[in-house]
Amino acid sequence: MQTGNQDTPFNKEFNKRLKRRYNAERRFKRLGLLAIFIALGFLAFLLSTVISNGYSAFRQTFIQLDIFFEKSYFPNEDLARADYQTIIKSTLREQFPEVTSRQDKQLLYSLVSNGAAFKLMNMVVKNPKLINTRQLVWVPANDDIDMLMKDKIDMSQPESDRRIKDKVFSWVETLASNGRITMKFNTTFFTSGDSREPELAGILGAAKGSFYTLLITLLLSFPIGVAAAIYLEEFAPDNRASAFIEVNINNLAAVPSIIFGLLGLAIFINFWGIPRSTPLVGGLVLTLMTLPTIIIASRASLKSVPPSIREAALGIGASKIQTVFHHVLPLAMPGMLTGTIIGMAQALGETAPLLMIGMVAFIVDIPGSITDPSAVLPVQIYLWADSPERAFTEKTSAAILVLLAFLVVMNAAAVLLRKKFEIKW
């Protein structure tokens, strides 16, 4: 047969067609690559937005005040009840003697945060000897000043449109030139609960709420999920009832999460009378949600244990239960734990059902037990995302970063566990 270097009409047609076919393949490959890069591009865009918005929240602006704790401010025994706000106000007036009008004074007082008074109170209560001494104290600045220091306020706009007036700007410049304003690591963000003031808001309350909620979820869903998986995989007779359970589990895995919230509201709260907004009821709802994930993963893990193990155990006289609990379960455990961690990671990021059971309340106190009202991390993100203050955008992104860090750690643990204990039969 002749090879195709002659330009007979047949070969010409053939080569043309071949070229077209390869071109089509190349186009399709490019399309596939494009799809992947679009998806990854979205991911990169999302992460870079969150990081660029959020990293600045880990630093906070502080103003140094030269405070004289005059004796006259402490008329009664109870040092905690003295008027610390007045001390701060008079200190500010001292530092800026040129401010006289009432309106300007109000502006001046707004330089420092409301939390400054608490800081002074804690100092004095801890160490009463401070009274009648002069101290240099770093107090948190107001959130607008914080935004200004982080270059997040556009000073080129007309004065009436911005949150920082020209006078305030000049005071901040004065403070800056005296070295009395600085940025420090934001410990408040990690050590306090929610607040209406962005500069005082932190995620500890939400993080603890998440911890208690996940604890309940883990304690309930892991044993129940593993037990259900063992029954379905090892004991269930091949009949309609077992098929029905199986259909139910597969379907529950795909039920919208908000429906579980409705169940929690109607049954756990209205019918059983479990208090709203608590980690207890949140954990119960999330248990029902994560159970299908854990059951499906555990069943896959049990299925991967070869039958020869079971046959060997049964052959030397172990009962079915002994076979499962002494031999099959330990071999399947790593896979089950991996599935559980992934289920927990899902539960940690879940928001919608918790809105239904009242975990959206504004809660300042840090929860101390599973029956204290509390928020959880994703709900805190939702609440802050809804707040109008500019500074909360930054806090929201920072809280997202913390949440993502937890998720990365959990998923990494799952991957490591799988890598380390995976047995290839």
Binding site: L46, I245, S319, L404
Partner: protein
Amino acid sequence: MLYDYLLPLLLVLTAAAFMVGRKRALRMAADYGGIRQLHSLPNHYGSMMALACLLPALLLYGIWLSVETSVLDSRIIHELPPTLLSQDAGAQALIINDIKNTVSGNVTVNQDASIEAAAARYQAIQQKSRSAMCIGLLLLAPLSSFIAFRAIKPAFRARNVVEGIIRAALLLCSAVAILTTVGILLSVIFESIRFFKMIPLQDFLFGLSWSPQMAIRADQAGSSGAFGAVPIFAGTFLIAAIAMLVAIPIGLLSAIYLSEFASRGFRTVVKPLLEILAGIPTVVYGFFAALTVAPLIRESGGFFGLSVASESALAAGLVMGIMIIPFVSSLSDDVIHAVPQALRDGSYGLGATKFETVRLVIFPAALPGIVGGVLLAVSRAIGETMIVVMAAGLAANLTANPLKAVTTVTVQIVTLLVGDQEFDSPKTLAAFALGLILFIFTLILNVIALRVVRKYREQYE
């Protein structure tokens, strides 16, 4: 007093029962000529006795816990002085609530002396019933253990008993799935029936206007309380359709590329990266949609002279589509992998290029599975909540314009139920009716999808 230590005490009793049972089995065996004469392991006898101690007690405790409140309430109502008795059930419930608050120490400001007396009485009855329960429980546990103790003999099949109980416990755990489904149905159906008594079903399903704010006064303007859900359904489908327009092509193409064209190294790097998209919490997508994507779309729309709502369906749908990409791609990846290699080899043997093999052989073979996966993705898009709560609108507009604001079923459920709820107003109950529709719809989608996927897998196994 005793009540606080009840559970630890019970656990101690259980542990003791285990030891005693084990000891007795060993001693019995010694009489008959050694441990080999026992039917089961000594631990089985111990466990049997421990279970005999624990289970009846727990059962009693559970029953008591579930009836305590209602029995106490009815007794206290019987004993209330006539000044506190009220014909109205709601007012009566309030009084009971006041009494309970007083009992738990949350004293309200204006406290009626008769309420305080009732609270004291309540506390006394509660104390009495609790002590009675404690005593009953502490008698029952040793009694049932003793019956088990008497049963221990070398020929007694303790292992069978214990394993039977374990089996029953395992069955019970797997029945939780059924209980959950039943719970979901009950919780939405009852409230929905109440809702449909107030608002006829056909008005709800086919009405064209939705404004759930009920008038508090008769003469109040603008609060008509219309419950026509068509605009909500339309909005839900609009956003889900946008999401699927984004997710299906990108997810499917990337799955095909990764499984048929990509090198091993590329695949191992890119696949986990794509799966990160699935692991990001939805609230993060919501934040991204509301604060980054929506303003971006509005500005670029303004650039082309289009007026875009700040809560446009496009922004929410687009971000939801991104979220669903890994879902579509991993499901399609599974089904493409399930296509037997022999089909590919046959196609290559006939001289087809890779693309032709994908287009003419693999894709048609995998199509049923892909359709199943897409149906699951649609069900997820319809049930997704946080993205639309944060980025979509609240007003129920009946429009097909993706640049306008629309609302969805999940958004309405959240807005109706967050905050104060009255379970006798159609506004609150409407959320449950919407939940019922959402549940039924996603259930049908899921069942069809799961069946299609399973059929498809069986075909090649």
